[in-house]
């Protein structure tokens, strides 16, 4: 009888333990955090540690074994003019893109704060470039900039801005090619920055605007001395996000220019890929990709500090 009772009680006991577990705050917190932790460790932490290890070895795509070579791969990368060109291009690409993104996102956010019909639809449209896969968007832009079928050239010619002999080769001239990839990147980053800024602008209490109006503050005074200081922490978060995304991105360049013409749009991320994967020198590719790491660590530190400053206590 006792044996039978304990047998019957077993499932009930297990069920109640499961029930208690499901109600436990501590368990739930870990269960919900676990996928993010696994994701970061597997897709960010592990490759990063691997890149650190690769960069001090002579590993290639075709070998599983490697010897320790110290900083030789970093020196090797720095001997190449292509590397210094990529450093210059990375800074140019990142800084110009972000400057444009911030100005345009600020303007867009202010426009989106206005009341008008179909506002939700406009917001949805603006978010699309961020939501859609970047590779798909870049392929679309590739056709927009195509040397034969460019819709920009066709339109500008048909509305009379370009003459019959004018047909810019967007991706075939270094300056235009850089302008093209910056345009695509701005198009891609604008929605996120605009939404972040919109949150910042929306967070300013209406009382402050009213007080400024009563005190007779003009447009510039209101913008520069009241609104800007209030939204600055959030704007900086948008800038820092943008810098990290832009400096480490290679998809736009990989699809649109492949670093050309003659390396004039090559950035560190794309050079690392071409050297490591296409060229087969994984070690040098890893070394190139790590050059931005100290700078990005500093930026990440700033981000965390700013995030703490913007916390509402």
């Amino acid at each position: 009888m006792t044996a039978l009772a304990s047998h019957a009680a077993a499932p009930t006991g297990a069920r109640s333990r499961l029930r208690r577990l499901a109600d436990s705050e501590r368990f739930l917190a870990w269960a919900l955090l676990a996928p993010a932790v696994v994701f970061i460790v597997a897709l960010v932490g592990f490759p990063f540690v691997l890149a650190l290890l690769y960069s001090v070895t002579n590993v290639t795509v075709g070998t599983q074994s490697a010897s320790f070579v110290g900083l030789a791969k970093f020196r090797q990368a720095m001997e190449s003019p292509a590397f210094w060109g990529a450093v210059r291009n990375t800074f140019l690409f990142t800084l110009v893109s972000q400057a444009l993104v911030i100005v345009l996102a600020g303007t867009l956010a202010r426009l989106l704060m206005m009341e008008f019909r179909g506002k939700w639809f406009v917001r949805l449209l603006i978010l699309l470039p961020w939501v859609a896969p970047i590779s798909l968007g870049s392929i679309g832009w590739l056709w927009i900039f195509d040397s034969i079928y460019s819709v920009i050239n066709w339109t500008l010619r048909h509305i009379g801005i370009f003459g019959p002999e004018t047909w810019p080769i967007w991706l075939g001239q270094p300056t235009l090619a850089m302008a093209s990839i910056i345009t695509v990147h701005v198009w891609r980053m604008l929605p996120l920055a605009a939404i972040i800024m919109l949150a910042g602008f929306s967070g300013i209490p209406k009382d402050i605007h009213d007080a400024a109006a009563i005190d007779g503050a003009g447009f510039w005074r209101r913008e520069l001395q009241i609104i800007l200081p209030l939204v600055l922490p959030i704007v900086l978060v948008a800038v820092l996000f943008g810098i990290v995304f832009t400096a480490t991105d290679m998809i736009v360049i990989f699809i649109i220019t492949r670093g050309g013409p003659f390396d004039s749009t090559q950035v560190l991320a794309s050079l690392a890929y071409y050297t490591g994967i296409d060229g087969g020198d994984l070690a040098e590719g890893a070394a190139i990709s790590l050059f931005l790491f100290p700078l990005l660590v500093a930026i990440a530190y700033l981000m965390l500090r700013l995030a703490r400053r913007t916390e509402v206590t």
């Binding site: 499901a22 079928y149 080769i169 075939g172 013409p261 003659f262 296409d278």
Partner: protein
Amino acid sequence: MSEQKTRGVTRRTFVKAATAAGLAAGLGPFVIPRRAQAAKTLKILQWNHFVPGYDKWFNNTYIKEWGEKNDTQVIVDNVGLVTLNSRAAAEVSAQKGHDLFMFLWPPPVYEDQVIDHAEIYQECQRRYGKPIDLAVRSTYNPKTRKYYGFSDSYVPDPVNYRKDLWDDVGMAPDTWDDIREGGRKIKQKHKIPVGIGLSAEIDTGMAMRAIMYSHGSSVQDAEGNLVLNSPQTRECLKFVKALFEETMTPEVLAWDASSNNRMILAGKGSLVLNAISVTREAENKKMPIADQIWLAKAAKGPVRRIGLEHVMDVYTIWKFAANIEGAKKFLVDYIGNFRQGFLNSEFYNFPCFPSRVPDIKQLLAKDSKAKPANKYAVLTDVLDWATNVGYPGYANAAIDEVFSTWVLNTMFAKAATGATSPEEALSEAEAACKRIWAKWKEKKMI
């Protein structure tokens, strides 16, 4: 308890449902019964062929027939050519992947990861006769004496030109000087440029090497020593600069692997170097321009008439492949059936074992789609003017890296546009080559 309720769903229910869904997704594939399968599996990765009919035949007919005969389920994954390198690197890194991996260029950098393919060559030679020299030079490392791949076919790279435009200026593109002069005249008269790539892509790599080899220049000599810095290379740089300035537009600096086709089929180009996918696409789509696009042999330079293969099909079998024996048998059998491959690729893939298409001359001389019917006859003696990447030596790991990182493409583009002087461009390229050579010598692969 009621505090934890959110619109009727308790936290407990949510955790249970999420756990159940996770378990179902994770275990489902192992639990759900599968259909009966063949005893063995053979997985192949290869590119999306430029002639779609080839993939249709290979994927839907050939592998099914072969699979039935060999009690094997054959699975083919087709990928874009630009992703081949990253897929190969991923498979090696994971030590898992396809049984047969097809590259479109020699992949000596993976030599340590692949089996010695000598046995396949030997068996094919026993059955079908000798392979062509081009195949051997694209898959054999004389330093390690290992075949790091097996080439079933190569693709000729003729000159594709607009017959009407070239007739109009009274010329034919037979030599590189003809191309420069005729191209200039056509551009002046019709505002239609020549389209030879100067970009970071495969066609440019082939075209620039064709110019170099025909001018007596090369990256390495027959023994594999670096000889890029030579008076002949300087001449080539000057020639390409003149060719670019006189006959082309900057669009060649943004070239990709399909730009050749787009340009000439849109009627916007007088001449390109490409495989016959240009003419085949025009014929298959019944484009009026098809009859005006003619083919010529690789152009003759001051030293010789020579060009590259446009694409070198190289199958490799990883050491970690699950079905090595099946992969070997597949290749040997495929060579046996290669005539079908030649026909279904519409003459795009040429045989590395010539005996398998004994009537190739007759086929090329009379094509049902071409106008004139003998348009493709110009390819009959292709082996007299097509060579391998790495000429006059073998394709090796250093040559592969120079090719894949577009060292020569960048050198020519910089010199042609005046971004640097020809001397500076050569000096930069030579420095890059020296670094690459030193690296692979240290690894004892060259």
